[in-house]
Amino acid sequence: MSKERLVVIGNGMAGCRAVQEVLKRDPDRYEIAIFGAEPRVNYDRIMLSPVLAGEKTFADIVINDEAWYAANAITLHAGRAVTGVDRERGVVLAEGGLEAPFDRLILATGSDPIRLPLPGADLAGVVTFRDLDDVEAMVAAAKPGARAVVIGGGLLGIEAAYGLVRRGMAATVVHLVDILMERQLDASAGFLLASALADKGVETELDAVSEEIVGQDGRVAGLRLKDGRTLPCDLLVMAVGIRPNTALARAAGLEVNRGVVVDDQMCTSDPRIVAVGECVEHRGQCYGLVAPIWEMCKAAAAGLAGADGAYEGSVLSTRLKVSGVDVFSAGQFAGGEGCEDIVFRDAGRGVYKRVVLQDGRVAGAVLFGDATDGPWYFDLMRQGAAVDDIRETLIFGQAATEGLRGLDPSAAVAALADDAEVCGCNGVCKGAITGAIEGQGLTSLEQVRAVTKASASCGSCTPLVEKLLALTLGDGFQAQIGPKPVCGCTHHGHEVTRKRILAEGLKSMPAVMQALEWTTPDGCAACRPALNYYLLCAWPGEYRDDSQSRFINERVHANIQKDGTYSVVPRMWGGLTSASELRAIADVVDKFDIPTVKVTGGQRIDLLGVKKDDLPKVWADLNRAGMVSGHAYAKGLRTVKTCVGSEWCRFGTQDSTGLGVRLEKFMWGSWTPAKVKLGVSGCPRNCAEATCKDIGVICVDSGYEIHIGGAAGLHIQGTEILTKVATEQEALWAICAATQLYREQGFYLERIYKWMARVGLESIKAEVEDPERRRALYDRFAYSQRFARIDPWAQRVAGRESGEFNPLSRRMEFAPA
């Protein structure tokens, strides 16, 4: 009896692997023919990235050479695409009129790279990244000094950009989303990846929408983004995703969805035809990685060899192939319902690890910087192993965990060998620490730090050192009360955090969280607003404010009320108003049915009970009458309360109203650690209550007394004298300098009087009275005001963050019950 004829369409990863699996099970059953559109033997597609980078050659990545086809009597039709499948006649039709009859057929046509339909997409120099021809086209364009833009910040795009940089090009990855590889990485890991790539010369443009490919003489010359910029380039790579290649299956009348639909035996709707690889859709799922393909090929081969076998879907893990950048991701890396995170960061080594637990089992993991334990977590995840008993050490990896299984945390620490390293930064092992505690009678963390240097650098081993103290001293140890941590996400206090932001040039929230080893993926409601402020203060004009890290009032520039409505307080400079302002306020109140209008304790008018959706409209009307936000919601400059002063008052010594207005006009919009209220009184009778304000001015005949550190809220305290100056100009300098010092030193939510109690009035005086330092402080304040003195209401009226004010959808508003 003659052999059955097995025809394979697709000489790629899946097609050849399926054949190998068939040969393994039943080497003599079939006469095999493979069609491949590519004019070459079967090679390892995933290794195209190292080929592009010049780290490997094509010969290195061939999986099956010509000898293999010959040895197995396989006919290879390389460079001949199949054009149709005639199921009735049981033949495959290929280019050049070739026909090949089959008894069984394997469809392994892979997928096609998606080409964005941008204007200019057909220009020369626009390529995708899928096969060796693409790599050759890229290498040809990669002349040193030439520039490449890669659209798509997924695995493929990043590997392409890295490869091109290795070939001497300058490469920029343009990504639609704000996180690189967002399907595999969380924001923290994505951020680290972007910085690691920058170190390797790969630039990234996140949140960037491509609009048009610009050409010159029929060749690509640049990519224009929606924000109007054009990134010049000589090569443009589109790596925006893949689409299962289903054309043949569809034309042959097989059931096709997104991919060719197969059952657990990999059979298509025609039982003679199986399909494997990226072209299939199994249980509603299409895959773009090789691991599932190997499993699919086993199931398909079992069926073809008359044995049992089933494919039941795959859990995936991803690894990026960029030398020196270790990235691993698996499963539900981002958590989800009922999940719990364990986060570890080692800033010194640039490591970020996050393991997601669900019901006491590993549900996913993202590792950056050290992916050694990736396979171990992946294994635990696939086994669905219970990890409750190793939870304490899980994040430290397999080596740290093995041998400790089953022990409680302190027992786990007790069980550590004496030569186990506790402090990675300073290389201090357990024995050295317990030895020092016993030998030198140490009783506190500080002492251990001083004597052994353990926990003295990054501090991430602090809990471990504390456990060692507790174990060694028993009840004799009381945990340290060091500087209060910013919040439960970190053991660092505010001061260290602020200093390191400056010293290490940390310019984004993920950068701070990584460098200071935050133990949560994205902080909490306490630390995020603090960090946002610290960054804003440290890098004026450079740091992009993160509105999602602001308390609602600062996010929407109005104060939330108990019923979810808002209050609106326009500025009344120094407490002055006019008929036209009052008229505009009255009109707005009528127009928007605002229930309450109240004169505040800060000399201005509060409109209470405004609906959130109405805010931009209310502001538009107030803007039109010349009024801007009063920042009644801000950790920033609130009011400058004044009295009438020399302008009208028979006792006034100076123009206190004028000075108040001048101060407010210069200082408005500034962000500060907590709110700042000023008062200017025209004489010591002090009608503006300046001596209970954060900073107050008492005008006297000979000049201006500047007071600081008053409180009249939760705590009541009079001000202290900061300095006395002769002119209004000097008063402004001194007040701005003191405010800037507070901006730079204050802890988030610490009012001026508390900051003063902490640092001492004398230290503030020393800065403000030294002409040079006062000048420098004033200059820094003035510089940062260049970016702050902008009316946030006007910006929102102009459409900024409109999503904040509009409901997502009104489609359910009137839905029946």
């Binding site: 704000d178 967002e182 969380d186 924001a187 890396f333 981002a334 958590g335 989800g336 319902e337 009922g338 999940c339 995170d341 949560t520 993926p521 994205d522 902080g523 909490c524 409601a525 995020r528 607003p529 509105s547 999602q548 890290s549 602001r550 308390f551 609602i552 009032n553 929407v556 939330i560 108990k562 979810g564 999503g803 409901p807 997502l808 959808s809 009104r810 489609r811 359910m812 508003e813 009137f814 839905a815 029946p816 019950a817």
Partner: protein
């Protein structure tokens, strides 16, 4: 008179996931009060009734961190997947979750 539009489907498309900022939320008004739809830093989407169990604060206006939101009025930290307050406030009621599914990047909200 209120206009009543019959919506036959059990699921209503209320917008794209990308219409919600990461670590943010948006509201969807319904006849039974607003629904708050949250998107975490990781891109997961959750829906809760926009009513804090404490004093009915609009949780949609809070800060989203991890898989929690901190109520803007008095700072209860609410688990987005259960709607229940956590930590010291655990057990003090719930902002009930609203059925939600995501298909092809679109958010479908179930009947509230």
């Amino acid at each position: 008179m209120t206009l009543v539009l019959p919506i036959a489907e059990a699921w209503t498309d209320v917008g794209a996931v990308s219409d919600i900022p990461r670590r943010g939320s948006r509201r969807v008004p319904t006849p039974h009060g607003d629904v708050a739809i949250f998107r975490t830093g990781d891109g997961a989407v959750f829906a809760l009734k926009d009513r804090c169990p404490h004093k009915a604060g609009p949780v949609s206006q809070g800060i989203v961190h991890g898989r929690h939101v901190t109520c803007p009025l008095h700072g209860m930290v609410i688990d987005l997947s259960t709607g229940e307050p956590t930590g010291a406030d655990a057990g003090k009621g719930c902002a009930p979750p609203v059925p939600l599914k995501v298909e092809d990047g679109r958010i479908l909200l179930g009947r509230t």
